[in-house]
Assembly symmetry: C2
Homo-oligomer: 442 residues x 2
């Protein structure tokens, strides 16, 4: 039902304000002044985020023949990060302004002038800082084991490659998909939920015959871009950025970012990388385990190559919010703010709105709510005028409103109102679940 049109754009202040006012995203620990650029998802945000993750899981695992899931722990053996190269290579260059003491990532600075105080040539030499969060496992700090909060979920997949292969008896090509929190001690987090120190990833490692890796790399770029479009992102707000050979990570034979036109400019939404056999090879050498695949047709052991689409949950949520934001004139010429979220992503699918707070209308509306609640995420709103209530639901992206009025007492029917077209149809109450299912499209 969502007709996607190029959004006129929304500035971040407006979006952050809406997110807080309506319960999508709150600053974390806000009553204590916030903390370290972390954010909490409120009642609507948690449903939106769940829907994004479920849509990814459905398209990547459930609907496909060739991918299975995994959920590895955040705390892993430090040897994993030594082997993957994160202990040695996962650094950002840090500089301080000698004048104002502000701290920056050297690779994000342009020119010699401090972006904060304007001092010229005030920056210290760049120092390399590892982005992994350190902690101590075991109760006594002095003899506890140092451990790291994982900076990516991918390594949890590589070290489980053998276990998954053995238990699922898969043939190449096959993939292992995972969702979960990762942590990076960013020097300069920012842009709301776009760059945060604690964030959630959706990563999939696709293991293929070496000679097919470039073909699969291209194919996954297409599949992943289409996923955003299918869920309502306007194609003109997406573009691809293929990294030139000299900028590739040490493990990569090719990386393409899918970028979204955020309010501050084009920025990364998801990266698709051809990781070659780097990860399986280094873990095989370090662990002494044979992380390979036995090809029964050629009777040979093969170290598969890996194609990885790695998406950020939080920045996907942000992109879906930005792209859904529309302002249109209403029938009176006032502004109507609508989040044209795809029905699958909308945090509330149906709102039940009684025209009166008193019996018997309220009672019947309660019954309608009970009828719909087992099927979808719903809301019940009985405060203020019906026009105000439609606006409130439009602003949080609710695709359908069901209005129970005085006539409902006579005809046992209610009105379904469509968010995008504002069309209204009258439906017998027992028929509501079927009619709503048809309009939502699932």
């Amino acid at each position: 039902m969502t007709e996607s049109t190029a959004s006129p754009g929304v500035d971040m202040d407006t979006l952050v304000s809406l997110a807080k006012r309506r319960g999508f995203v709150f600053p974390s620990s806000e009553i204590y002044g916030g903390f370290a650029s972390t954010w909490d998802y409120g009642p609507l945000g948690v449903e939106l985020k769940r829907n994004v993750k479920d849509a990814w899981w459905k398209s990547m695992v459930r609907d496909r023949r060739d991918i299975v899931g995994l959920d590895a722990a955040i705390l892993m053996a430090p040897k994993v990060w030594e082997t993957s190269g994160h202990l040695t290579n996962f650094h950002d260059p840090l500089v301080d302004c000698r004048e104002c003491k502000s701290r920056f990532r050297a690779d994000h600075l342009e020119g010699e002038t401090c972006p904060n105080c304007g001092a010229r040539g005030s920056m210290t030499e760049a120092r390399q800082f590892n982005l992994m969060f350190k902690t101590f496992v075991g109760p006594v700090e002095e003899d506890a084991a140092t451990a790291y909060l994982r900076p990516e979920t991918a390594q949890g997949i590589f070290v489980n490659f053998e276990n998954v292969l053995t238990t699922t008896r898969r043939r190449l090509p096959f993939g292992i998909a995972q969702q979960g929190k990762s942590f990076r001690n960013e020097i300069t987090p920012g842009n709301f939920i776009f760059r945060t120190r604690e964030f959630e990833q959706m990563e999939m490692e696709f293991f293929v015959q070496p000679e097919t890796s470039d073909e699969w790399y291209r194919r996954w770029i297409d599949i992943r871009e289409q996923w955003y479009i299918d869920l309502g992102i306007h194609p003109e707000h997406l573009r691809r950025d293929e990294h030139p050979a000299e900028k590739l990570s040490h493990y990569s034979a090719g990386t393409t970012d899918i970028q979204y036109r955020f309010p501050w400019g084009w920025d990364e939404l998801e990266g698709i990388a051809n990781r070659t056999d780097f990860d399986l090879t280094v873990h095989s050498e370090a662990s002494g385990r044979k992380l390979s695949y036995f090809d029964s047709e050629t009777n040979e052991h093969v170290v598969p190559h890996v194609v990885e689409p790695a998406a950020g949950v939080d920045r996907s949520v942000l992109a879906f919010l930005v792209d859904a934001y529309h302002v249109e004139p209403d029938e009176k010429g006032d502004e109507r703010v609508i989040l044209k979220l795809h029905p699958r992503l909308a945090p509330v699918k149906v709102a039940v709105l009684p025209l009166s707070r008193k019996e018997p209308v309220a009672n019947l509306a309660g019954e309608v709510w009970d009828l719909l609640r087992p099927h979808w995420a719903t809301q019940y709103d009985d405060t203020q005028s019906i026009g105000r209530r439609y606006r409130r639901q439009d602003e949080v992206g609710t695709p359908l409103c069901v209005t129970v009025d005085f006539e409902s007492l006579e005809d046992n029917a209610a009105t379904i109102r469509d968010r995008d077209t504002q069309e209204q149809i009258r439906v017998a109450i027992p028929e509501l679940p079927a009619a709503i299912r048809e309009k939502l499209g699932f």
Copy 2:
């Protein structure tokens, strides 16, 4: 369809072995010798865990009129833990055996003999150790802010009380539900996924008028116990343990554990606590924010009391596995291992089994798989005898198998086989989704 009968019991070795062999749970970082009693969920385990979490979310948030969701960050302002009492009080007493250097929780020891080496009177005096994992936020360790990995999700709800109340305009009683990882630096983790340093919680804080808190406390004990029973746990394997007044936490006016009969004995599955107004009061005092509710009927501000059902995801998963484990004789008198998981929890709902790996049977079976995959989590298995394949599906709890045979090419029908009764019915292929939905019950 699951007829719950008292399980004859399963020992932990058998269960851990099955969990690893079939891809439910692997030791984390296993190729490097494992790490710190952490565990990874494999392809079947991740689906089982998702199903447990989804069932909880549906029953606690979606199906109810009075509860909304939240997803707060793991990293919070340290002031939260200072105020909640965790920095001061969240300790376990630690003792070391002077002979064998083993480490124990003093409150878990019985008698004066070391459980490891048998030495008498060898224990050191108990030292108090805080169970929170420490880390450093900001790239330079010496001037970074010390932070803690949350030891419970509950505090994320309390500090967001005002934000949720304002954005949802709820009236008492109402609840805020949350799922997510927590971390405790346990001295002695153990019993597989029962007690781990990294674990997942499902917690709900239910805010009520003070005078109704005991009534709600009793009611939530009933609701939560019933949830496990509805999902297949045998009632005789559950019991309640109400803490005596002298053992209550400093914030609690009443705590009852729901215990499950694990293979090592009765142990806690979930705790329901009447937390009084402790949390909102201390956070209100420490933050200077008025964390109260305005009662428009009495025109008074009330600090709500809180009833908290706090469940562990991982130990719920373990209880569902243990309770589902059954061994029955098959038609030949051999042992048939069956996980009688509730269909909602089963990681695979339907397995498609072709009687031949060759065309045209394999082709038709592939079409059947494509027909079913959009609706449920499925598996396709074409290796070894059909009897072996049924056993494999029984062992992982798949409620239904669909067998495509040579006759299917003639009658365009397939056989649905029921895990528990082993009954088989013939169904026209286009009718399979409807027949499966009816048999699964959802």
